[in-house]
């Protein structure tokens, strides 16, 4: 038996686990479709103005987030591991085509499990050292990632009607 690939280290990683009442297939779609990502991926009143997705290992995952004052924050990275409806791993440590990035920060891992009432949602931020992890936590990881999950669920429910 191979060991699970992604094992969180409490000193280096931040992990959000929540149960949500929407199906895994719609959570997956919301994470992997540019038009959907734009609807929920950063806490309002910030917006996502651009999103580019090439859903294969080494393929681009790029967003531009805009502050209410109009300041733009581009993020670029690539996908690493893609298991539809179950696991999505991406990083800004590598640019598209697996080229080392000049501004590495973290690897993101999303894990989805179907439950009786919806989805068990696990989002993890994986860092290379304790200082970067602490910095990410102080930037508001838990509040931010929880808020965008609320936005994701609201977006899915709005689309279902």
């Amino acid at each position: 038996m191979r060991s699970p690939l992604v094992k969180p280290d409490p000193k280096l990683d931040l992990v959000l686990v929540r149960e949500v009442d929407v199906p895994v297939e719609l959570v997956w779609e919301a994470w992997t479709t540019p038009e959907s990502v734009k609807q929920w991926f950063c806490p309002k009143p910030w917006t996502v103005t651009e999103c580019e997705i090439d859903l294969r290992p080494g393929g681009i995952f790029r967003t531009v987030m805009r502050s209410p004052e109009g300041q733009e924050h581009p993020n670029i990275g690539c996908y690493l591991d893609i298991v539809p409806n179950r696991r999505l791993i991406f990083t800004d440590t590598l640019l598209p085509g697996f080229r080392p990035s000049p501004n590495p920060f973290f690897t993101g891992a999303l894990q989805l499990e179907p439950t009786a009432t919806g989805t068990r949602y696990t989002a993890m931020a994986i860092h290379g050292d304790e200082a970067t992890c602490k910095n990410h936590e102080e930037m508001g990881f838990y509040g931010g990632w929880s808020t965008v999950l609320d936005q994701l669920v609201a977006h899915i429910k709005a689309s279902m009607h």
Copy 2:
């Protein structure tokens, strides 16, 4: 049509292309089996004293190279993309489990194509900036990677008899 994932940039990447007279399957085996890697992976009289391989995306690729004077140089990274007998991509920019590395250097990409007489062998070192690429070239990339390819071919031929 999706574009090819790995496109070398002449300012950032180093590429070795050679035709060798051994079959792709044996080149693949030599790259992906720890006992084989130890036989050829660094230019003699340096040796590879340890090699660990978990051949899946995010799985470990670790070697320890030892100088003739006994100084040890550990290298650790993970695999990114694995297409048996055709393509093997790995990086030291991410540790096993896709954790960002404290010492990122480059992504390596091996591409193999069968030919009438053996294998067209393309080995690429992909860097994040020009200075790192130049440094790698000055460390002796072309001579070193060509020498280890000679060692790889000799290892395969010795194993065939």
